[in-house]
């Protein structure tokens, strides 16, 4: 049988396909599914010479927008306005590279918290969702228990703190406390904290909530350095860690399946001049199974409906679930991803109509509450599977 790998592969896929289609709708409600993405991007420092921090944040903003997080799900906090600073040689423009190819401050930049609004208090309020009644929805993090949140922060930091606005500090236990509150209030499913500052790793030391993965630009006792200086603008325009993060993302689009692990291991300490540190002990999933787009992109899920009215959706609900589950399976297996999709396509073409027939039959019967009937159908499908596989291997 080894002489026919194609056939066995096909079988395996069909097996998975069928078993899933039977089991999933029955299994007890699993932890909430990942169903939306949020990003909180924070630049904490003021003053002209900290131009690069604003450029860092705006670059990340542009990247997550490009990868599919819509503006209403990005909370952008910028502590100062470099674009309109009188010292800016390019009025109303911000660049993160001396080649000036990309104006980060072009159209469609929605800054949610700006200038002196960026305080530790407001930051913690955004995370924990404890706003005053007058705060508009656009300035709130309206995430739920199915949200994946990207929290990116940059500024000047030190051992277990991050400086806000030259006057206050966010300490590591403040951050940990906010994250714990978020967990208690079911405000996220998974949280990725990315920090570009000196001694960034120390900021994560107090975290203890499950579902959190954190990466920082430098270890304790290390500085994070700027990448290069723009001789026209007269300041450093981007930090090293962010620069190489952006370089990683520039190769990707929203359909890419590069894993978090490949991002985390892409940092070269000699280029960074610091050691990128990531903390994964609070995170259940293996990093090489998590696509970066789980955090930096958005859940791409369309809900096909025949009708606008929910009453007519019953027949399609399970189908939808099936498809999404199947996509999940396909996505999680990242290695040989291309091969898989190819095989899948072929099998889909060949057996399309048979499957459709069988599915329709199944769906019709699944409406029945009697478990014995279900078991019978399950066995029937097994028999069918057996026949098909025998037929294929012969």
């Amino acid at each position: 049988m080894a002489s026919d790998p194609k056939g066995s592969q096909l079988r395996r896929i069909l097996l998975i396909f069928f078993s899933l289609s039977i089991i999933l709708p029955l299994s007890s409600p699993s932890p909430t599914m990942h169903n939306n993405n949020w990003a909180v991007l924070v630049c904490t420092s003021r003053f002209w010479f900290n131009y690069r921090h604003m450029a860092n944040t705006l670059s990340l903003y542009r990247t997550v927008k490009r990868l599919g997080i819509p503006d209403e799900r990005i909370i952008l906090m910028l502590a100062d306005d470099m674009a309109c600073n009188a010292r800016n040689n390019y009025p109303a423009q911000v660049f993160n590279n001396e080649n000036h190819q990309l104006n980060l401050y072009g159209d469609n930049v929605e800054v949610d918290y700006r200038g002196y609004e960026v305080t530790v208090e407001n930051f913690l309020r955004v995370l924990t969702g404890r706003h005053e009644a007058s705060v508009p929805r656009s300035k709130r993090l309206l995430s739920d228990e199915g949200s994946h949140i990207l929290l990116y922060m940059t500024g000047h930091g030190g051992n277990e703190f991050l400086k806000f606005q030259d006057t206050e500090e966010l300490q590591s236990h403040d951050l940990a406390d906010a994250v714990k509150q978020m967990k208690e209030k079911n405000r996220f499913k998974e949280l990725l904290i990315m920090v570009d500052t000196c001694q960034a790793a120390t900021l994560f030391s107090q975290l203890q909530s499950p579902g959190v993965v954190a990466i920082g630009s430098s270890m304790k006792g290390e500085n994070s350095y700027s990448h290069h200086l723009d001789p026209d603008v007269g300041v450093s325009v981007v930090d090293r860690f962010t620069f190489y993060t952006l370089a990683f993302f520039e190769r990707l689009d929203m359909y890419s399946n590069a894993s978090l692990n490949s991002l985390f291991t892409s940092y070269d300490p000699t280029l960074l001049m610091s050691t990128a540190y990531y903390r994964t002990d609070l995170y259940e999933r293996p990093l090489n199974m998590v696509p970066v787009t789980n955090f930096f992109g958005s859940v791409m899920k369309t809900i096909p409906t025949d009708s606008a009215y929910p009453g007519f959706l019953v027949a399609h609900a399970s189908e939808y679930a099936t498809i999404s589950a199947e996509t999940e399976t396909a996505r999680v297996v990242l290695e040989d991803e291309a091969d898989h999709s190819k095989t899948y396509d072929q099998s889909e073409k060949g057996l399309q109509h048979i499957l459709d027939e069988w599915l329709k039959l199944l769906e019709g019967k699944l409406g029945v509450k009697d478990p014995e009937v279900l078991v019978a159908y399950g066995l029937g499908s097994m028999v069918l599977l057996l026949t098909i596989s025998t037929w294929l291997s012969s």
Binding site: W48, F49, A86, N88, D232, V233, G234
Partner: protein
């Protein structure tokens, strides 16, 4: 019995420990006062000599400055325009048709072409008068009376920052002399204007300005300082009294962030061949105030690391050649080497040549601060708490050649452009770096924490000696010092009279300085005699010489400490003279057992009685610095006039602290010792 004795002893010890530690420590110091004072004085002298070794490299401590992070954009186009202006100025100067009117007009015309707001500022020569009440106040200038005096005209242009808030300004000052427009260094003088114009024309098109730019082309016919200080005075003290019909326009542009004064000086005879253009920095303002070290660092960094210009600061050339300093340098090198062989971590080894240069520069730095007279027009800015520095640019090649002139203007202009852009980046006043420092090289400094040590060592024995002398007196009355307060009071009253006498002498016009000097001396003597007649002899029977010395030492240490707050450098040099006088003072008639020591002390006393006299002390200082050939005691009046003309507190120190100390010293020396 024995046990009881031991117990009693223990109890005694316990009561002794109960008396406070600080009291016992003080008692210990007082009881060993001679040893303590000798050790402290030696330590002070050694600490002063090793200051060049303790100098640290300068560093830019304000993050916002970002010097040299932007590429200079001053181009040949700007420089060529500036060259046209230089040519025009030279032709006016050659025609000799009222250059003092035509040149300001010409500069104003050029400024207006750039779109700058322009006006002329007229000022007259201030009368160099003695103002006893104006010491420490910002400006002694009286409102200008332009009636029929000759006056100078400065031309001022302002560029508004296109997107700035208009609350801050950077001031560029380029002095030029219309009286000497056709003179020897006319091309250099015109080049200063050209240099300023090239930078100004660049800045008028710059998009990155956050602070307004003021260019003051100051008329230096009454000296560089006068015009700048007159303009600053009018800038900060608006005069609303004038009648409405007067059309004096005066425009302003917010708080000054920094002042940059630059002038081109072409040295006719160079001491040695220069392979680079040189910029000499002058930073000392009145009463030893210095601009923030960051400003000097920015200029130094840009000049050395961006434009390749050599940076110099004031140095006493005489000290470099002095054998004594050279020997000291060798000793320091050996000591450093020895220390390093003991512990490789002790790295204060310094080549002797470096030590010699460091010492010569440090001496110049201390002397310029101690004099309390600004070394250039930047001093006028410091009176308004604005950091400023004077750059004296001297080109490597002659400015008469057009190509070398253009190249020089480009280099100098880029240096100034870089400095302006750096200061433009500032968000606050200069505050990060040091204000109190001595320089031992353009990129090396001794900070206040280090240079205080020698002074502290020199002054520390004074209160200890005073306390031990007070204890040694035969009289046990705790108020016994009151009797000696009388001679002290007389001396200080006298010194106040001496301070004020020149005010009245200078009222009598047309006296040659020798006569003034003699009048001052005669008047002072007469005042002293009158005071003694009125208050009685200082040698009453209650006045013991020890008490008198204790009181003298106490008053001197108070005076020195006060002066160290006003102008540290003066106090430092003053302590070198005054502290030995205080420590060695001994009456001639006193009886001692050891005749050898007595004769040595007496010799020292007599030498100090001569050298400690303020007139000889000043002459000695100037001799050490400038060479003894040029010094004459009769110049004292002129140097004092120079000091009070600049409102230097050094004058007050000399007359109110040093002079009474010397007089009391003489009192002790001739004490009858009944």
């Amino acid at each position: 019995m024995e046990v009881a004795e031991v117990e009693a002893e223990v109890e005694k010890k316990a009561t002794a420990t109960r008396s406070r530690l600080i009291v016992r420590l003080a008692a210990l110091l007082v009881s060993h006062s001679t040893l303590v004072s000798v050790v402290c004085c030696l330590a002070g002298l050694i600490a002063l000599l090793v200051l060049p070794l303790l100098a640290k490299n300068t560093y830019i401590s304000e993050n916002a400055l970002l010097p040299g992070s932007a590429n200079p954009v001053l181009s040949y186009q700007h420089v060529t325009q500036a060259n046209n202006l230089i040519m025009d100025i030279m032709s006016i100067a050659d025609d000799k048709q009222a250059p003092d009117i035509e040149i300001p007009k010409l500069i104003a015309k050029y400024m207006e072409i750039l779109g700058a707001e322009t006006y002329h500022h007229k000022f007259s020569q201030p009368q160099n008068q003695f103002h006893p009440l104006y010491f420490f106040s910002s400006s002694p200038n009286s409102p200008p009376t332009l009636a029929n005096l000759s006056y100078g005209t400065s031309t001022v242009g302002i560029i508004r920052a296109p997107r700035g808030d208009g609350k801050e300004a950077i001031v560029l000052v380029s002095p030029y002399n219309t009286q000497n427009a056709g003179g020897i260094d006319a091309s250099a003088s015109a080049s200063s204007i050209g240099l300023a114009f090239s930078v100004f024309s660049l800045l008028s098109r710059a998009t990155w300005l956050a602070k307004d730019i003021i260019w003051v082309a100051s008329d230096s016919r009454f000296g560089d300082h006068t015009s700048v200080s007159a303009w600053l005075n009018d800038y900060h003290n608006p005069n609303f009294i004038g009648d409405a019909s007067s059309t004096r326009i005066f425009k302003r542009a917010g708080t000054m962030a920094c002042g940059i004064v630059f002038k081109v000086v072409e040295k006719e005879r160079r001491e040695k061949y220069e392979d680079r253009d040189v910029v000499t920095l002058y930073a000392e303002a009145s009463n030893g105030q210095m601009p923030n070290l960051d400003l000097l660092n920015v200029v130094h960094y840009l000049a050395v690391h961006r434009q390749g210009i050599r940076v110099r600061i004031g140095m006493f050339g005489g000290l470099v050649k002095s054998h004594l300093v050279r020997v000291l340098g060798e000793v320091m090198q050996q000591v450093g080497r020895f220390a390093r062989s003991l512990n490789p971590d002790w790295r204060f080894e310094m080549p002797s040549s470096e030590y010699v240069e460091g010492t010569a520069t440090l001496a110049s730095s201390i002397y310029s601060q101690a004099l309390g007279v600004p070394t250039g027009p930047h001093g006028a800015f410091r009176d308004y708490q604005v950091d400023a520095v004077t750059l004296e640019l001297s080109p490597r090649f002659s400015l008469k050649n057009e190509h070398t002139r253009l190249a020089f203007l480009l280099k100098g202009g880029r240096l100034i452009e870089g400095t302006v852009r750096s200061v433009n980046n500032l968000l606050e006043k200069f505050h990060q770096s040091f204000f109190l420092y001595f320089l031992t090289a353009p990129n090396k400094f001794v900070s206040v924490g280090v240079y205080m040590i020698p002074f502290a060592f020199l002054v520390a024995p004074l209160p200890i000696i005073a306390a031990s002398l007070f204890n040694l007196t035969s009289n046990r009355n705790p108020w016994r010092w009151l009797h000696t307060a009388k001679p002290l009071l007389i001396t200080h009253t006298w010194s106040v009279v001496v301070t004020l006498l020149p005010f009245y002498i200078s009222k009598i016009s047309d006296l040659p300085s020798t006569h003034c000097m003699l009048t001052w001396a005669g008047g002072s003597l007469m005042a002293l005699v009158i005071l003694y007649i009125v208050f009685g002899s200082p040698y009453s029977k209650h006045v013991e010489w020890r008490l008198l010395k204790a009181v003298m030492i106490a008053s001197v240490s108070i005076g020195l400490c006060l002066m160290s707050i006003i102008n540290f450098a003066t106090a430092q040099i003053g302590a070198l003279f005054v502290v030995p006088m205080c420590l060695f003072a001994l009456p001639i008639r006193v009886k001692t057992n050891n005749s050898l020591i007595r004769s040595m002390v007496m010799t020292c006393n007599l030498v100090m009685a001569v050298l400690g006299f303020p007139v000889t002390a000043v002459a000695l200082m100037q001799g050490v610095i400038k060479g003894f050939g040029t010094v004459s005691i009769l110049e004292f009046w002129d140097s004092m006039k120079f000091l009070w003309g600049w409102n230097s507190a050094t004058y007050l120190y000399l007359v109110l602290v040093h002079l009474p100390c010397w007089l009391l010293f003489l009192h002790i020396l001739f004490h009858p010792c009944r």
